[in-house]
């Protein structure tokens, strides 16, 4: 292995021309060296420029951007001086990119085999007669079972994880010297993500490729990367070994970022990192992080710190790096507000069954019942007043579907929903009375989608106030301001449009809209998964404060087990629309666990280079639940035999209310799991 760098960015600055004609930098003086066989992680909040760095290493700039200074070299080639033709041979061949959501970058109308062959034709020096064998070899290399069958499939016939594997195989076709990965596992389920990361680790070791891994997820970075570069507002603020950056960061921003990540081992709420990064060109003369930094001094405001070796030797861009270790790094936030014991249930679901499919026309004419298993079935949960129930599960587990049904947007096929001890709630929202509508509110995942882009913040908040309370005039105006202040936004936001707000501010408005109704029950559907970790911590804190102040009951849906742990009193685990386990959160996160919970917990990535995920079940995505038996039968690593396939497992309940639905007696399960861990 030579020591000449594969990728070298020297003093690279990239920017665009703003509306007023000024040049606004997006990247400032980036130095980055990637040696053969090395994997480097680029982390930072959205907008920090990490993807721009990765794309610049390929000689690619997004529309409107231009190089302001410096060079980007790949194996000695100056990428911004190369001709188009030369770039084309390098890109995809020796230098490959794996984008986020690669399902969308595969051609939907071509079979996988044809797409891989095309990649080989363009970027491999092999004899075309060898292509079919090489295709199978590549698919085997990315650990896809039965490569022969996969070559005949179309992209839509593969799961998200399989599509990502095919994209990796395509990238490997040209035997690249360096692989650029732009959030390659964001949007995948935890178990799938863990498997893909293990694959990338192995590939890096087998092939000696260099990797640049761009992600906001420090857990993923910890798993794959040797070195980590922390970016903030278009600058490198810290660089060092993964161990040093993740366990003893010397930059205040890196510490804040780590503190804002909810951790599985820690039942506290994560700490929020206040403020937001400066817009391009808005950093001024001083340190870009100065407005959000607890160590900021006059020196920080006056002069921009240089990247210089800090304590521990790793380069850091901070005047006060020697004092950074005084800042907390683990979450020392509050404990989430807890419900009082023994209160009456505010919501109870009884044998809830939800179907998306309808029987075909012919079957309906013949009066036949739909024999396909329901999407969601057999859900019986009751939620006490002031309690937070976490609903966890992979995508397709039916957790959002259940929320929609409670809200009345998706009428159930069977079972009933009781609210506050009343008679069963009408099935659909159109049949419900105004009081019920007001008392149950829903907050959506993505505020870009749940706030009307044509409404000002005032108009958004006025809707529930007018509808439920009939407010108007100054009373309405005053109430809007009051609500905004409750979510820590001021009255000056009233006339803005959602597009003028940051992601976290938008989600606060969505929270404010739900709380404007004075609800008793708030349904939170993945409310933080579209946000940066630092912003996520702030939104969690807000939800917790509102609950403490108003005694609101939450149903909190998330795929992130650590987030659920931080906020929930009780947790229910769903697989394929069926409950597997439910109980107080401390119990659910401890042994014994349902085998599915065990798989989920094992796959969670912690931002710690010393912990490895435990991968026990494969990452196959099932599209429909089995007709009978245990829903988890096909993937269960602890399956005990035919009983799991035929009989619905019984609920085994312990004294503390912790219930697990499994054929294995709890004591046996506990013993097996303790032996394995």
């Amino acid at each position: 292995m030579t020591d000449t760098p594969v990728i070298q960015l020297s003093d690279l600055s990239i920017g665009f021309t703003g509306r007023a004609g000024h040049t606004l930098p997006v990247l400032r003086n980036i130095d980055l060296t990637v040696r053969p066989g090395e994997s480097i992680g680029l982390v930072g909040e959205s907008g920090s420029g990490k993807s721009t760095v990765a794309l610049a290493a390929m000689g690619y700039l997004k529309r409107g951007l231009r190089v302001l200074g410096g060079t980007a070299r790949f194996e000695g080639h100056d990428m911004f001086a190369l001709k188009r033709r030369e770039l084309e041979t390098l890109r995809g061949g020796q230098l490959a990119l794996i984008p986020q959501n690669s399902g969308q970058s595969l051609t939907p109308t071509l079979r996988i085999g044809a797409q891989l062959t095309e990649a080989l034709r363009l970027h491999s020096r092999l004899d075309p007669a060898q292509f079919p064998d090489r295709v199978l070899e590549l698919l085997g290399q990315v650990r896809l079972p039965d490569p022969q069958t996969i070559t005949r499939r179309y992209p839509h016939e593969l799961s998200g994880g399989q599509q990502q594997r095919v994209a990796i195989a395509m990238a490997l076709a040209g035997e690249p010297r360096a692989l650029l990965l732009d959030e390659p596992t964001t949007g995948l389920d935890v178990t799938t993500q863990a498997h893909i990361l293990e694959l990338l680790r192995d590939l890096a070791r087998e092939t000696g490729m260099a990797m640049v891994y761009v992600s906001h997820d420090l857990g993923a970075i910890a798993r794959v990367c040797d070195r980590v570069v922390v970016m903030y507002a278009g600058e490198v603020v810290m660089e060092g070994s993964a161990r040093q950056v993740l366990t003893a960061p010397t930059h205040p921003y890196a510490r804040g970022l780590l503190a804002s990540i909810p951790k599985l081992s820690d039942p506290h709420l994560p700490m929020a990192l206040g403020g937001r990064p400066p817009a391009p060109g808005g950093a001024g003369d001083g340190c870009a992080f100065v407005d959000r930094c607890a160590l900021a001094s006059d020196l920080c405001r006056a002069t921009r710190p240089m990247l210089a070796p800090g304590p521990g030797g790793a380069p850091v861009r901070c005047h006060h790096a020697d004092r950074a270790d005084t800042l907390p790094m683990s979450s020392q936030g509050d404990h989430a507000a807890r419900a009082e014991a023994g209160t009456a249930p505010v919501l109870s679901l009884q044998d809830l069954e939800i179907r998306y499919s309808r029987p075909g026309l012919l079957d309906r004419l013949r009066g036949r019942e739909d024999t396909r298993p329901a999407t969601v079935d057999d859900i019986t949960i009751s939620i006490a007043k002031g309690e937070t129930l976490g609903l966890v599960g992979e995508s397709g587990s039916g957790k959002s579907t259940i929320l929609k049904t409670i809200a009345g947007l998706l009428p159930p096929a069977g079972g009933e929903i009781r609210f506050d001890g009343d008679a069963p709630l009408p099935r659909s929202v159109e049949q419900r009375g105004p009081d019920h509508l007001r008392r149950i509110q829903l907050i959506f995942q993505n505020p870009d989608d749940s706030l009307n882009p044509r409404h000002t913040i005032a108009e958004i908040l006025e809707q529930p106030l007018k509808l439920y309370f009939g407010l108007s005039g100054t009373a309405l105006q005053d109430r809007c301001v009051e609500i905004l202040e409750r979510v820590r936004l001021g009255g000056h936001y009233l006339d803005r449009l959602p597009s003028q707000l940051s992601g976290g501010e938008k989600q606060r408005v969505a929270v404010a809209r739900a709380f404007a109704a004075n609800p008793d029950l708030v349904l939170c559907d993945e409310v933080t998964s579209a946000l940066d970790v630092s912003v996520q911590a702030a939104v969690l804190e807000l939800l917790n404060d509102l609950k403490a102040a108003q005694g609101t009951t939450y149903v909190f849906v998330s795929h992130d087990l650590a987030v659920v742990r931080a906020l929930s009193d009780r947790v229910a685990v769903l697989y394929q629309g069926r409950l597997c386990e439910i109980g107080p959160s401390a119990e659910v996160y401890a042994l014994p666990s349902h085998p599915y919970t065990e798989v989920l917990l094992g796959a969670v990535l912690e931002p710690d280079p010393d912990t490895a995920p435990k991968l026990t079940a494969d990452d196959v995505i099932e599209l429909s639940p089995p007709a009978k038996g245990c829903p988890f039968q096909r993937r269960c690593p602890r399956k005990i035999g035919a009983r799991c396939d035929t009989d619905t497992p019984p609920w085994q309940t312990r004294d503390d209310g912790h219930a697990i639905r499994c054929h294995i007696p709890l004591d046996d399960l506990h013993r097996q799991q303790q032996a394995d861990s």
Binding site: F16, K62, R63, G64, L65, A279, K404, A407, G408, L409, V429, R432, P434, L437, Q441, L442, F444, Q445, N446, D449, S450, L451, N452, P453, R454, H455, T456, Q463, P464, L467, H492, D495, R496, L497, Q500, R513, A517
Partner: protein
């Protein structure tokens, strides 16, 4: 983003910035000037016309352009220039009233179908398709022959026929919006269907409707002139471009000025509307090929 750069009223701010965007594009600047020129001319032309458009002069038939009659005279000896500058008044008035009506009713029906979706929507759209497959001039002539040719017939007729394609556009735009969570949020709140259409959907479909309205206006002008040309529009002696072209057509080989005036007037107005619509679409981000950088 500094606080000062945020306008007091965001809606007004957006309208102003779209307008600025339209006028800063060459197509928008040229188009808008042409349209404004024609609109102003339509208002003031009766006061500035050098001759009465009705005055015939048997001694001055089909004379060429000169210092007195700038565009010559027609076969009845009437001044072509005076008739040309007033020839758009009727057309602009009729289409100017009919276009908003067409966009309003077509838009509302389209948004409604887009919101309810499902089978009713599918069936109704097949009716719309069937209707659109018939040649427009045929449908229009049937109505005009039945009810006559006055303004009171022409406006509703044009508004009705040109509203039907608007249904398609509004429905398609609504389909993009209706699946978004803010509509689900409004449903979950218990907002009425009318409120959802008016408050949630309409503001998001309005951009597409405005561009569509501008395009419809130019097609409607062509349709109106075609009807006049065929003798079903404005009745003589009122000057009208379509009618003037029809009258002067026979003498085109030796007196081309009779056709030239109305042809240039009509085409500049239509080109102006099209350029404006084009710039508006780009300013509103409807033209997907022209997304703003970064």
């Amino acid at each position: 983003m500094s606080l000062a750069s945020i306008p007091q009223n965001s809606h007004l701010g957006r309208t102003l910035s779209v307008l600025r965007d339209v006028t800063s594009r060459p197509s928008g600047a040229v188009g808008l000037s042409l349209v404004l020129f024609h609109l102003i001319l339509a208002v003031i032309s009766p006061y500035i016309a050098p001759f009465d458009y009705r005055t015939m002069n048997a001694a001055m038939m089909l004379t060429g352009p000169d210092g007195v009659h700038w565009l010559g005279t027609d076969h009845l000896g009437r001044d072509v220039f005076s008739r040309t500058i007033q020839g758009g008044r009727e057309a602009i008035l009729v289409t100017g009233i009919a276009t908003p009506i067409a966009v309003a009713w077509g838009g509302l029906v389209g948004i409604f179908f887009g919101l309810i979706g499902g089978r009713v929507d599918e069936v109704m759209m097949r009716f719309v398709d069937a209707f659109l497959s018939l040649p427009w001039i045929l449908k229009m002539l049937v109505l005009i022959v039945t009810f006559g040719t006055g303004i009171e017939v022409l406006i509703p007729t044009l508004a009705f026929f040109y509203g039907i394609p608007v249904i398609r556009i509004a429905r398609a735009a609504t389909h993009d919006v209706v699946a978004r969570d803010f509509v689900a949020a409004a449903r979950a709140r218990g907002q009425s269907r009318m409120t959802i259409m008016r408050k949630e959907l309409l503001p998001n479909v309005l951009d597409a409707l405005m561009v569509e309205g501008a395009m419809r206006w130019s097609w409607m002008l062509l349709a109106f002139s075609s009807l006049s040309f065929l003798g079903f529009g404005v009745s003589p002696p009122t000057p009208d471009w379509g009618l003037m072209i029809a009258d002067a057509r026979g003498f085109m080989s030796f007196a081309p000025w009779g056709v030239l005036g109305p042809v240039i007037a009509l085409s500049t107005l239509i080109i102006g509307i099209n350029l404006t619509a084009d710039a508006l679409a780009k300013a509103l981000g409807i033209d997907r090929a022209q997304k703003a950088p970064v």
